[in-house]
């Protein structure tokens, strides 16, 4: 069953066509990685599913609702790429406020455990390391007990340990029955976490399948080679079309 979908969605910012007809389905209980180079349209797709921007044409829905509706918002959590989070607020205060937005939030103890925040609950956000900051943002994404998480490049700039810690939290969320849409340009991240991968390039989905299928499709042993093969193939087709 689909928890969220994009149906032939296009999005133009003036003359720039960020999405050129994207079909994407996130099934219940899966982790779907949206993989693509910078500027491919990953963030735009996530923003449409979060109701932060509207599709120019096509249809987007989350649990059958408009992405910007309250029905969708209470069932969904999100991590975005944020330039600056208010720094003079304590971890506990951030979580307390975000939890209050949702009808059935997790308890503080559950959130702290699920996001790995033990011992830093009373620190100001501005005093935290990069990995700790991302874990707090993860806590804000899951605090409302959502059924769907939309994570926009959640591990950018993190060191290996911090990345692995966040991966564990994401897997644990899936184990509790949640579905995840994850954008990334780290191939190993998609390989390690995702049940399914959708490769996006220049506003189109150019390949879709399990990590194994993607590798076969790119005729390669590892995902990186497969990705590069798919990309150059896409380049060639686009050139033929033009």
């Amino acid at each position: 069953m689909a928890v969220a979908e994009l149906k032939f969605v296009t999005k133009s910012y003036g003359p720039v066509r960020a999405l050129r007809g994207v079909d994407l389905t996130i099934d219940a209980g899966e982790i779907l990685a949206l993989l693509g180079p910078n500027g491919a349209g990953k963030t735009t797709a996530v923003r449409i599913l979060l109701g932060l921007t509207e599709a120019t044409s096509g249809r987007a829905s989350v649990f059958g609702y408009e992405p910007s509706s309250m029905d969708a918002r209470v069932r969904r959590g999100a991590m975005l790429q944020i330039g600056k989070v208010p720094e003079t607020i304590k971890v506990r205060e951030h979580i307390e406020l975000f939890s209050a937005y949702y009808p059935n939030p997790m308890s503080m103890a559950q959130i702290v455990a699920a996001a790995g925040l033990q011992g830093i609950e009373n620190r100001l956000f501005g005093e935290l390391s990069g990995g700790q900051k991302q874990r707090v943002l993860f806590a804000l994404a899951i605090c409302g007990n959502p059924q769907l998480l939309c994570l926009d490049e959640p591990t950018v700039g993190l060191d290996v340990e911090a990345r692995r810690a966040l991966w564990r939290s994401i897997r644990a969320f899936q184990a509790r029955g949640g579905s995840v849409l994850l954008t990334t340009h780290y191939l190993d991240e998609a390989d390690a976490l995702a049940n399914r991968i959708a490769v996006i390039a220049e506003g189109r989905i150019v390949a879709q399948g399990t990590p194994a299928e993607i590798k076969r499709r790119g005729d390669a042993e590892d995902l990186e080679d497969a990705f590069l093969a798919i990309m150059s193939e896409t380049q060639n087709t686009l050139e033929e079309v033009l």
Binding site: L50, L52, R73, A78, T88, E93, L97, A100, Y101
Partner: protein
């Protein structure tokens, strides 16, 4: 909903209270200036003019309310809008009204604190004496006078970039304060400044506050009230357009 409003305002209050720059600029500066110009120079009252400690209590009150409000709205909204924090909140089930309510409630709370502190200085060290009802009337006037500046702050917050918001607020706030006679009484200012003063909301707030405490003021209280209401509606209208335009750019 009440709980969300309360928590949103509480979090916003703690956020600003812990920001040293905010507390210094908006709380300590007006008090410090009042000590310099209002208390230290209070003996030099010129002829018919009331003691400086009395006159400047009203004008530094207006100065403080303006600063507290413009920074909370202008810089707060510009930074949170420009650097993504507001988007995360918009994707969450937060009611949009809660965000703006918190900014408003916090502006009011900081105004209440700084004006009360000014009153304490004026009564304690400046020899300002008034009936209790007049103190209260002045207090309410100054706090309610924050309204046009909430709207002005929202305009800045919707249009300025995250890095330019703070200089923009300074560029509006400081000249406007001086030209409205908030630092120095108007009659002491050059003629050019005196003639632009009536075009500024801060002038009308200061004059209204002066008339409430029976200090010599220009125009009638009703004129100033009308002007302040006019500015509030005008700024709110522009803020609404600016916000809609900005939302479209960012979200549509």
């Amino acid at each position: 909903m009440t709980r969300i409003l309360f928590l949103e305002a509480k979090t916003e209050f703690l956020k600003l209270l812990r920001m040293r720059a905010y507390v210094t600029f908006t709380l300590l500066f007006p008090l410090m200036f009042y000590c310099f110009f209002g208390l230290a120079m209070s003996t030099q009252s010129a002829g018919h003019f009331p003691p400086m400690s009395r006159y400047l209590l009203a004008t530094y009150g207006a100065f403080a309310v303006m600063g507290v409000t413009l920074y909370a709205f202008g810089v707060g909204v510009a930074v949170e809008r420009g650097l993504g924090w507001l988007q995360l909140k918009r994707a969450s089930p937060m009611p949009a009204a809660a965000y703006f309510f918190a900014k408003f409630a916090v502006s009011l709370a900081f105004s209440a604190i700084v004006v009360a502190a000014l009153f304490g200085l004026g009564a304690g060290f400046g020899g300002v004496r008034m009936p209790l009802t007049q103190w209260l009337a002045l207090y309410v006037t100054l706090l309610a006078g924050g309204a046009p500046f909430c709207a002005l702050g929202l305009i800045i917050g919707s249009l300025a970039g995250p890095n330019s918001a703070s200089p923009t607020v300074n560029l509006i706030y400081l000249p406007m304060s001086i030209c409205s006679g908030l630092w120095m009484p108007l009659p002491f200012l050059p003629h050019a400044m005196q003639s632009i003063a009536p075009l500024l909301p801060s002038y009308h707030l200061a004059q209204l506050a002066l008339s409430v405490m029976n200090a010599p003021s220009q125009g009638t209280p009703f004129d100033h009230l009308q002007a302040l209401a006019g500015f509030t509606f005008l700024f709110a209208g522009i803020a609404w357009f600016a916000h809609a335009r900005e939302s479209e750019k960012m979200y549509g």
